[in-house]
Symmetry: C2
Subunit: 415 residues, 2 copies
């Protein structure tokens, strides 16, 4: 089956927002085994919308449209799609009640405009919106499936997960089952090299590679008559990948991030962690604390950007800063020691480096970063030379700090 994604909105055409809906929908559809050959963006314009819906429906089995379901006159997606498929609109009582309940609960005033959102095409499937007022719509005609979703990601994503995904799954003739093997601390080319034989030989399951900063994700997908058969096909491949990459595989759960895996490990082994950050300026702590429930294991962190702060907050010696500089393995090591002492945590991780664009020298160029991690009597320091702009260097630093932190936890697990 072929799917096509059409995002509607002037704000995307003008470049005011990045089209994350398209990426989300595309990844989900790929996960279902649907082929996608085209994505388009079009504004809230009747004629152009008409044309693009007709074209999409002529060349694809499923057309997913997002955006343009709002209450104003500008919002035309539903009206235009209904027109193209020759369906009349009528007031959907349940949708009307849901809008009423949604607005009332939030103390918002209902205007005449709002009822426009309760109008739906005849013979369609109406999908209730738990996070907004625009219901989703599924129309079926002549073997084509037209799915209309609200534009805000906070409405689109839950609606897709809860209602559209099961709908699409039912249509797929075969069942697809996929497992995401997430590897950290191994470069993309090395990963590809180590499984070249498997990729060359792949038919069912297939293996797809996704490179992230500091990580490589491998999606193993099998197609079969039923879920159980598909699982059976995936299992030995995942097992083989895990065997080849050993401890660098941090999860096979699609929804677990590296930081979540780390928080889980800390929690399991009843270890606490602290971070001392210079060039990353809080980003490392922010990633760890982004995991719900991090409070059990992450208690305190230090943003020690200035030398004075490194000394005052976490007791890095003035001599060390003077003799070796703030960006040195000695300072990184003392930052860990100081963070351990000041926080009382079991493990600490420290980052100090030159994120640029200024501040680089011949001896210490932009991108030079030292990361230290460990416990009181065993601290490891690694030197990195990252490339890219300030944001990229900071991102790479955080990723590698997480990877080192994970290694230290694993060592302490065995000790």
């Amino acid at each position: 089956m072929v799917v096509e994604i059409v995002c509607v909105g002037t704000e995307i055409l003008m470049g005011n927002i990045v089209n994350t809906n398209a990426a989300y929908l595309a990844e989900k559809c790929a996960g279902l085994g649907l082929s996608c050959y085209y994505q388009s963006v079009v504004g809230d314009n009747h004629d152009r919308l008409c044309e693009i819906i007709k074209t999409a429906a002529s060349r694809s089995d499923i057309v997913i449209l997002s955006g343009g379901l709002g209450p104003t006159q500008d919002d035309l997606t539903k009206e235009t799609a209904a027109e193209v498929f020759d369906k009349k609109l009528y007031m959907h009582e349940e949708a009307k009640e849901a809008i009423c309940a949604y607005m009332t609960k939030r103390g918002l005033t209902i205007t005449e405009n709002n009822w426009k959102q309760a109008m739906v095409p005849e013979d369609c499937i109406v999908v209730m919106n738990a996070n907004g007022t625009a219901p989703g719509i599924i129309m079926e005609k002549d073997g084509k499936h037209i799915i209309l979703l609200p534009g805000p990601p906070g409405e689109l994503i839950p609606m897709f997960e809860n209602d559209i995904l099961p709908y699409l799954k039912k249509m797929a003739p075969d069942v697809l089952h996929s497992v995401m093997v997430k590897i950290c601390g191994v470069g993309e080319s090395i990963v590809e090299d180590q499984i070249k034989d498997m990729i060359d030989a792949q038919t069912n399951p297939t293996i797809a590679t996704y490179a992230k900063t500091g990580e490589v994700h491998l999606r193993v997908t099998a197609k079969a008559e039923n879920e159980k058969e598909a699982e059976k096909l995936v299992k030995p491949v995942v097992k083989e990948i895990k065997k080849r990459f050993g401890d660098t595989v941090y999860t096979t759960d699609e929804n677990t991030s590296l930081e979540a895996a780390i928080i889980n490990m800390l929690s399991k082994h009843k270890l606490t962690v602290s971070a001392a950050e210079s060039c990353t300026g809080g980003l490392l702590s922010a990633r760890l604390i982004n995991v719900p429930g991090a409070s059990d294991v992450y208690q305190a962190g230090f943003v020690t950007y200035a030398n004075k702060a490194k000394h005052k907050l976490i007791g890095v010696k003035k001599e060390t800063l003077y003799k070796y500089g703030a960006v040195s393995k000695e300072t990184a090591k003392e930052m860990v020691k100081g963070a351990l002492k000041a926080s009382g945590a079991d493990i600490a991780v420290a980052v100090t480096g030159i994120a640029g664009p200024g501040g680089g020298t011949k001896e210490k160029p932009v991108g030079l970063v030292y990361i230290a991690c460990g416990r009181k009597h065993k601290i490891t320091v690694k030197k990195f030379q990252f490339s890219g702009n300030r944001a990229k260097i900071r991102e790479s630093s955080v990723a590698n700090a997480l990877i080192m932190l994970r290694e230290v936890i694993m060592q302490n697990r065995i000790d």
Copy 2:
């Protein structure tokens, strides 16, 4: 003139990457006054590429294609575009030398494949690539302009800025001049309300509104025969907007972020700042430190996620935590006091709240955030009730903490 953006790449169609190139190109083209009615994404497939290039060229004056210029057989954009416009390819000596120099400098091995990238369509403009091996291409035929750019943003962006932007500007019959007025701490609907008369009356210049978290940006754009005339048209409108929004306008420079404006103010008034963060977990510090040169004014910060850390690192009283709770105006205030003392900074800002998804109660629901900011004897605390998921609540918290910090700096500027 009408421009159309076509991004080529299976990785976008599969949702492996978000299409930031489209957003970048769309914003730049909008800034030039070019109208954009369509964006598309297509894979590295000859027939579909052919079809999409033909369609785009039939309905738009300028077609910008990005991606698919790599050295492998999969990369078809240049070959297909040349075919559509009936141009032969030939080896471009300068491009060949540039590829050779690029590869040699980096110690990379040149393979036969690489020379494919030096092949260009006849009569085209070849744009050298300072950051990669694929040159950019501009083809002109029958009044249409086809622009091919490499896919990696690190190559596309500098090439666009340096060569494509001047090329497009030359084509535009009129000169466009725009100024971005950035407002913080005022809601979008209030901003729109306060300039409704100006928006209703707009012809030249035009005013476009962009809502960001905690901020509203207004782009004032005028069209004229020359730069000077356009500037003259923009000036009084910007002046009027600044008059209406007063101190909430933090910059009229497109490239200055709120955090950069704050760092500049602190630097100018020789003030230093510290942050104590609970639910934002380092994000506030990270945003401030993302400004190059922040080290002069931001020296130390505290991530005090646990109660213990709030007490130990920045001396929040145990009684306060017990009596009022970690998420309270009393705790927020003491966090500021403690951060001032522990860091020695002139101003401190503190955030404590419930980012969810767990941890909410009826009295203190998810989204409740207290932000405090001030100097030793004058600390302001504000209570917020944010909505959205964990990431959104944290983002809103950071934005409002920055806004409060800016207000405090302004007060101290006058004192």
